[in-house]
């Protein structure tokens, strides 16, 4: 299934952000990372629903960390990308790269 279905743009962003953040990837930091890198405002609802979906597909796994006082006694939902997630990212990148390949002269100015 993962071979046939490519990741959506936002799903890629979320997975890449988690990878960049290492062990500190959770709702707040993922959103900030995407906003900082892409300059695009991201809704909290979209992040959560995407995390749910990626987790359901087996691309990432989340676990609750220790609750902290800073968070009003609530735990962070720490996310980690699974092997299947990395494979899906690769597949998406390859597909896109193949499509980009050879279009350098056309797209140079834009």
């Amino acid at each position: 299934m993962a071979d046939k279905e490519f990741l959506g743009e936002f799903e890629q962003m979320v997975l890449l952000a988690i990878l960049r953040l290492g062990t500190n990837a959770y709702g707040v930091t993922i959103r900030e990372e995407i906003e900082a890198r892409t300059g695009r405002a991201v809704s909290r609802g979209a992040i959560y629903i995407t995390l749910d979906r990626l987790e359901a597909k087996g691309y990432l796994r989340s676990s609750l960390a220790e609750p902290t006082a800073e968070r009003g006694g609530k735990a962070k939902r720490i996310c980690r990308v699974e092997k299947a997630g990395i494979a899906a990212l690769r597949a998406s990148r390859r597909a896109l790269f193949n499509l980009w390949h050879g279009l350098g002269p056309v797209l140079r100015d834009s």
Binding site: Y48, D52, L64, E70, R71
Partner: protein, 880 residues
């Protein structure tokens, strides 16, 4: 933990609506960010709520839309929830039915009121940029007098001098007789300045409107623009109507345009002709025209007031005789049209909202009690692996089912309610005011239903949310401790509604007890508009009056022959009628100084037939009434009302004195006072009686004529009235045959209607509160059954147990009553302007409401108390 906690209620909401793990992590995220936001934003709580709302919305929308698979499962889950919901509602049919009926009544009431408020106050005014339209009125601050109408000449001065308006137009509406091939048809015709149409921003659908050149002295004034309705009715919508000749009051006018459907400015006019055509326009004493104006794009109300004040002062300097003390005031067009009804609408809106809250509290209480009864069932489901989230969803589905059923029935109730509105309001509503079932009403109903469902569903859902664990029963009773509070709140709101209703009912009763100064029962009026050019132009005024009077007497004779009619009289205008123009002017008593003259009140001049006072049963206090001999060959005579006689001749020697109408020194004929009659109210039952100078119709020519018939046998058939009049003058149309009671109701209806609606709301509120009290106590008694049983077994008396329960119930009631009284103390003050001869803190009303409430509460408490007193310990123990 550092800093301040985020809003607890928002957190709680998230925990109720979201899956537990999502809620947990998201609340943590928000708490973390909240710390940062607090240092950078002014209202961090608003930010928090906004995030809560948008997250919830986004989460659900995306959960459904992003993944087709999950949406399918959501739909499947939903339909399953709904099925289970229906089943559980059917299993408790009585309480379900009660909830649905309660919701239907309150949602229906609220939808209807919101729709009416929307139509009256919120919908865009039907004219272009309608919020810049104003009406300029005339007031005399020193005398406390205010009139909507203005002399035409004053209007002309205003128009010339003002700088803060894009345009001013004067208009006055009369009933004219539309003649021609058909039977004479009454047509409300507005004589207006040419600029009226551009000020309102309305274009004709056919032809054109008249030009400024046509509305000027010497212009071609015989032009008429007709309404869409008249075009359809009289001309069958013919496209060649432009250029046709019509006879209005026997004069030929050319139709030049047709206005769009629904246009009837100022009210329900069917034709518009140039203001210059109106023949009486030049008298400076007659306040006849209304003035509508459009503010310039930049003018502020303050500038407009300053502008008008400056003009008023100029006019006062230039024409002290006619403009002394007169000031122009400005009000918005919307307020001019419905301003009088606005406070009642807001009052009813407030009352309906209170009713909604009461109903929500009731339903919430009931649903929580039901929830408690289902704890074991929930516990089993939880043990079998059902998530808490799923449980909440199921409760939400049940609530939504109840809410939707109530909302749907409520919508029908609302549609019916606004449908009967025109029948219970005795006036013709403005053409633009339309409340009908449409998308806006549907939206209002859906929004109200959702709001209600959220309010009443919150408590039970959050209770269930905490999960049916073993320790939960205790938690649950924690929620039930909120219920007496909810019930107390219901009682408090009911007190507010009952007192407001009581005050209005007393107001309406006081109004109806007011005597108008004549016997209104069995009186019927019918209006004639007299064609100004009915007689040849060269005919002397004297001759016209003689001929017209002869016609009146013949018409009266014929009307008297109609079945049921006992007496007929006529006047240029009848009390409580606004068909003809009322002319107000200064009055001068012979021999009085100019200073004394300046203090005289404005008087209304009425032209009446000899039988007027006898037919209306207005008492004669001195002298005589008019007689047939008071004709043009005899000295001019007048009758004054007692109030005026006392003002002008305080020594009581009014009979035989002479007075004249108009400004001091104006050359007008003297009239000899031959009689003093009782004071009569002309405008409203709560207004002061009018100061009136009556003159006989045999010595004065009225522009309009109203027949007043004493008809104990009911309202004569309008067709018969028309036929009787047409026998004498075939060109004369008859307008509006109706009873005096209806005419009076036209001035009192906002109060009486608001009083009866509010009474209905208040009684419904009382009933709901009583059911609430009953419910809370019944539940308490059931919970304490074992304790009560033990007490009884140990020798407690029945009276002791009853006292115990009653005390619990009455403490809730008294708490609610006291807070309600405190609340209503402030609410009633805002109603002061709507009351008549009742103070906002009327002791009678307050005492009756307290008594009524206590009696009802006692009954509601008594039933559970009696049940408690007959508790049988054996049964209780066996049940447990």
């Amino acid at each position: 933990m550092t800093g301040v906690r985020p809003p607890r209620l928002a957190e709680r909401w998230l925990h109720v609506v979201l899956p537990a793990d999502v809620a947990h992590a998201f609340c943590g995220d928000l708490a973390e960010e909240y710390e940062r936001v607090r240092s950078t934003r002014r209202w961090p709580a608003v930010w928090y709520w906004w995030q809560t709302a948008t997250f919830t919305a986004r989460y659900f929308i995306e959960a459904i839309s992003l993944s087709p698979r999950s949406s399918r499962s959501v739909v499947r889950g939903l339909s399953q929830d709904m099925r289970i919901g229906v089943r559980s509602l059917v299993r408790a049919p009585l309480s379900s039915l009660f909830v649905i009926v309660t919701l239907a009544a309150t949602i229906g009431v609220n939808t209807a009121i919101v729709s009416i408020v929307d139509a009256a106050l919120l919908r865009p005014f039907p004219y272009t940029d309608g919020d810049r339209l104003v009406q300029i009125e005339l007031s005399e601050p020193q005398k406390g007098v205010h009139t909507i109408e203005t002399p035409y000449l004053t209007f002309l001065e205003w128009r010339q001098r003002t700088r803060t308006f894009d345009g001013l137009a004067a208009h006055v509406t009369f009933g004219l007789n539309l003649g021609g091939d058909h039977a004479p048809e009454p047509v409300h015709t507005t004589f207006a300045s040419a600029s009226l149409f551009s000020i309102l921003g309305v274009e004709p659908v056919l032809g054109r409107v008249f030009t400024a050149a046509e509305d000027a002295p010497g212009g071609d004034i015989y032009k008429v623009v007709i309404s869409h309705a008249l075009w359809q009715r009289r001309f069958g919508g013919a496209s060649d109507v432009i250029g046709r000749r019509v006879l209005l009051d026997m004069e030929p006018y050319t139709v030049i345009g047709v206005m769009p459907r629904g246009f009837g400015f100022p009210f329900r006019s069917d034709a518009w002709a140039p203001a210059e055509r109106w023949p009486y326009r030049t008298s400076p004493a007659l306040r006849t025209h209304r003035v509508v104006a459009r503010l310039t794009a930049t003018a502020t109300i303050a500038q407009v007031r300053a502008d008008l004040e400056a003009i008023s002062l100029q006019l006062e300097r230039e024409w002290p005789q006619t403009h002394e003390g007169l000031r122009a005031t400005v009000i918005s067009m919307r307020d001019a049209e419905i301003g009088g009804v606005k406070p009642y609408l807001l009052l009813l809106l407030g009352a309906a909202s209170a009713l909604l809250l009461i109903a929500c509290a009731n339903v919430a209480t009931l649903m929580t009690v039901r929830g408690i009864g289902r704890i074991p069932k929930f516990a089993v489901r939880r043990a079998l692996g059902m998530s808490r989230w799923r449980l909440v969803r199921q409760l939400a589905a049940e609530n939504l089912l109840l809410g939707s059923a109530g909302g749907a029935l409520g919508l029908f109730a609302a549609i019916y309610g606004v449908g009967v509105l025109p029948q219970v309001i005795p006036i013709d509503l403005p053409l633009w005011f339309e409340v009908r079932p449409d998308a806006r009403m549907l939206f209002a109903c859906v929004a109200l239903t959702l709001l209600t469902t959220v309010i009443f569903g919150f408590a039970p859902a959050s209770a269930a949310r905490r999960g049916p664990s073993a320790a939960r029963v205790a938690t649950m009773s924690g929620t039930t401790s909120m219920r007496p509070l909810l019930t107390g709140g219901q009682v408090a709101l009911s007190v507010v509604l009952l007192v407001s209703a009581g005050l209005l009912v007393r107001t309406a009763r006081n109004l109806n007890e007011q005597s108008p100064g004549f016997r209104a029962a069995d009186l019927v009026t019918a209006h004639l508009s007299l064609a100004y050019d009915k007689f040849p132009k060269q005919m002397a005024v004297r001759e016209r009056i003689v001929r017209q009077t002869a016609e009146f007497r013949q018409m009266e004779e014929r009307l008297e022959r109609l079945s049921g009619v006992e007496g007929v009289a006529g006047a240029n205008n009848a009390p409580f009628e606004s068909f003809g123009a009322r002319s107000h002017s200064r009055v001068t008593a012979e021999g009085h100084s100019e200073d004394a003259h300046a203090r005289n009140p404005y008087v209304e001049r009425m032209t009446v037939s000899p039988d007027y006072f006898r037919t209306l049963e207005v008492p004669l206090f001195a002298g005589r009434t008019f007689e047939d001999r008071d004709d043009m060959d005899r000295p001019l005579v007048a009758i004054v009302n007692r109030g005026l006689a006392e003002r002008l001749w305080p020594r009581g020697d009014a009979i035989g004195q002479r007075l004249k109408l108009g400004a001091f020194g104006e050359s007008r004929p003297w009239l000899q006072v031959v009689g003093i009659v009782g004071d009569v109210k002309h405008r409203a039952l709560d207004s002061e009686p009018e100061m009136v100078v009556y003159v006989p119709d045999s010595q004065s020519y009225p522009g309009t004529y109203t027949f007043v018939m004493r008809a104990a046998g009911g309202v004569p058939d309008p067709a018969a009235v028309q036929a009787a009049v047409a026998r004498v003058d075939p060109h004369q149309a008859v307008f509006d045959v109706r009873t005096m009671h209806r005419s009076i109701a036209r001035t009192t209806w906002p109060r009486t209607l608001a009083a009866s609606l509010l009474t209905g709301f208040a009684l419904l509120a009382l009933l709901l509160a009583a059911i609430g009290i009953y419910g809370v106590l019944s539940h308490a008694v059931a919970q304490r059954a074992r304790e009560i049983g033990v007490r009884l077994a140990l020798g407690a008396q029945v009276a002791d147990v009853m006292r115990l329960v009653l005390r619990q119930g009455l403490s809730i009631v008294v708490g609610g009553l006291v807070s309600g009284l405190l609340l209503v103390f402030f609410v009633a003050r805002t109603m002061a302007g709507l009351l008549f001869r009742v103070t906002p803190v009327d002791p009678v009303t307050f005492a009756s409401v307290c008594a009524l409430l206590l009696i009802v509460a006692l009954v509601a408490c008594y039933l559970p108390a009696r049940r408690a007193a007959h508790t049988d310990l054996n049964t209780v123990l066996r049940r447990d």
